[in-house]
């Protein structure tokens, strides 16, 4: 959705248009859900929170004014606050490891086993990140926000976001055993077919990625 369309929909939704708000929901609900699910783990909690966030957005929308904050940043700030509130209230912060225990719908047991291993490894790698680094990955990758929007959500400078992202990627690649050129040290289990032997030695040495993410 382009900015002009979004601005128009926001204006119409502020005026009470349910159709406009429905289109905004359609544009952002998937991203919001993924962001929330990555933070709370349990799907039922993620669904409840996603609903609460959009109801909060309904309440707050009349007061929304762009003023340099993109709408996506504003909406995700609401989402972030809602997640933080829930975690504070419930004091049972579900971790990414908990998310990793969620059962897959994949019917083939061989695929399930292969994918579980890979996905569990990613969950552990994400859990090893600092809170800020993980949030940047959640906002930038899972929610699909721009660096500017992520900066607005986290109340940081755009440059800070890029720095956190750079370090997060380095850490993920280290944890997952990806070498500096981006190649895998171990053949992955794409589509559940286990690759087997290691093809490179000296897995992720801990140096920053040579991918030039920030160049």
């Amino acid at each position: 959705m382009d900015d002009e369309t979004l601005d128009r929909l926001v204006a119409e939704a502020k005026g009470g248009s349910s159709e406009a708000f429905g289109r905004i929901f359609d544009a952002y609900a998937g991203q919001i859900y993924r962001f929330v699910a990555s933070r709370v783990g349990r799907p039922s909690d993620a669904e409840d929170l996603t609903q609460q966030i959009f109801v909060k957005a309904l309440e707050a929308l009349p007061r929304y004014e762009a003023r340099g904050i993109p709408f996506g940043g504003w909406l995700f700030r609401l989402a972030r606050n809602a997640v933080i509130d829930q975690v504070r209230t419930r004091r049972d912060h579900a971790t990414l490891i908990e998310a990793a225990t969620r059962e897959s719908d994949e019917p083939d047991p061989e695929l399930v086993a292969g994918r579980h291993e890979e996905i569990d490894a990613m969950a552990r790698a994400l859990a090893d990140l600092t809170e800020d680094q993980r949030e940047v990955i959640e906002l930038r990758f899972f929610a699909g926000l721009s660096a500017r929007e992520a900066a607005a959500v986290m109340g940081r400078q755009e440059g800070t976001i890029r720095g956190l992202q750079f370090r997060a990627i380095a850490s993920l690649r280290r944890s997952l055993g990806l070498d500096e050129s981006g190649r895998r040290v171990e053949r992955p289990m794409r589509h559940g077919v286990e690759g087997g032997e290691a093809v490179l030695s000296e897995a992720g040495s801990g140096s920053a990625p040579a991918m030039g993410w920030l160049e």
Partner: protein, 240 residues
């Protein structure tokens, strides 16, 4: 509903395909919403919006002179019903209201304002609601509740008009709606002899509405060719 994840190339650097691949796999396995969860959330959020709009209308109405308030009685009753539903169990109470419920009108209204914007999804939602209305007519007839039969048939009429109004120009969708309405006519005609006499005119009206809609939609699909009446040409002198 679930848009694509950001491509790593959009992060400000070259594409790290392997990391992107693994993050996508992780997100698809662990962060994707379950089944129809997002549709349920959407309906709940838009119901909330609709309820708030009614409540706001009610607040405004109470500030008007009494004569104008009286004119808005039906809207106020709807608002009161919705407010009551909220205190008793939220939007779920409205959305589960049967034709014999005082909240049924509220439910129909909420369903109409929470239809999806996407034309295909909207058409599918109209058809699902029409089927729901037909089922409600059938249940109401089984129970012999004339009020419920009238309410369900009236809601069916409204829904037919709304579906036709939103049918657009897509020939496939129009043809599908025509088929659906044709089936409804057959079902309603089959039920017509079971309807209590006091509800028979409502049943006839519903059948006529559906048949009329089919005819209108068929006109859109196969517009009648203009009849060609040759214009009188220039008069030629006759030569005896």
């Amino acid at each position: 509903m679930s848009g694509p994840y950001v491509r790593s190339g959009d992060w400000g650097g070259p594409v790290d395909e392997e990391l992107e691949f693994r993050l996508e796999r992780y997100a698809a396995a662990r962060l994707a919403p379950r089944g129809a969860a997002m549709q349920s959330i959407r309906a709940a959020v838009l119901t909330e919006l609709a309820v708030r709009r009614v409540a706001e209308a009610e607040r405004r109405a109470t500030r008007l002179p009494w004569r104008r308030r009286a004119l808005g009685l039906s809207r106020r009753l709807l608002a009161v019903g919705l407010a009551g539903a909220l205190t008793l169990g939220g939007a779920a109470a409205v959305m589960g209201a049967a034709p014999d419920s005082p909240l049924y009108a509220a439910r129909i209204w909420v369903e109409s304002v929470t239809l999806p914007a996407d034309p295909a999804a909207r058409a599918a939602a109209h058809e699902a609601q029409l089927m729901q209305r037909v089922n409600e007519v059938e249940s109401a007839i089984s129970s012999g509740n004339v009020g419920a039969i009238d309410a369900a048939l009236s809601a069916y009429d409204q829904e037919v008009e709304a579906a036709v109004g939103d049918s657009g120009a897509d020939q496939t969708r129009i043809a599908h709606l025509v088929d659906e309405l044709g089936r409804h006519v057959a079902v309603l005609e089959g039920l017509a002899n079971q309807v209590p006499a006091s509800a028979s005119s409502a049943m006839e009206r519903a059948i006529e509405t559906s048949q009329g809609a089919v005819a209108n939609l068929q006109d859109k699909t196969h517009p009648a060719k203009p009849t060609h009446t040759p214009k009188p040409g220039p008069s030629h002198p006759t030569h005896p």
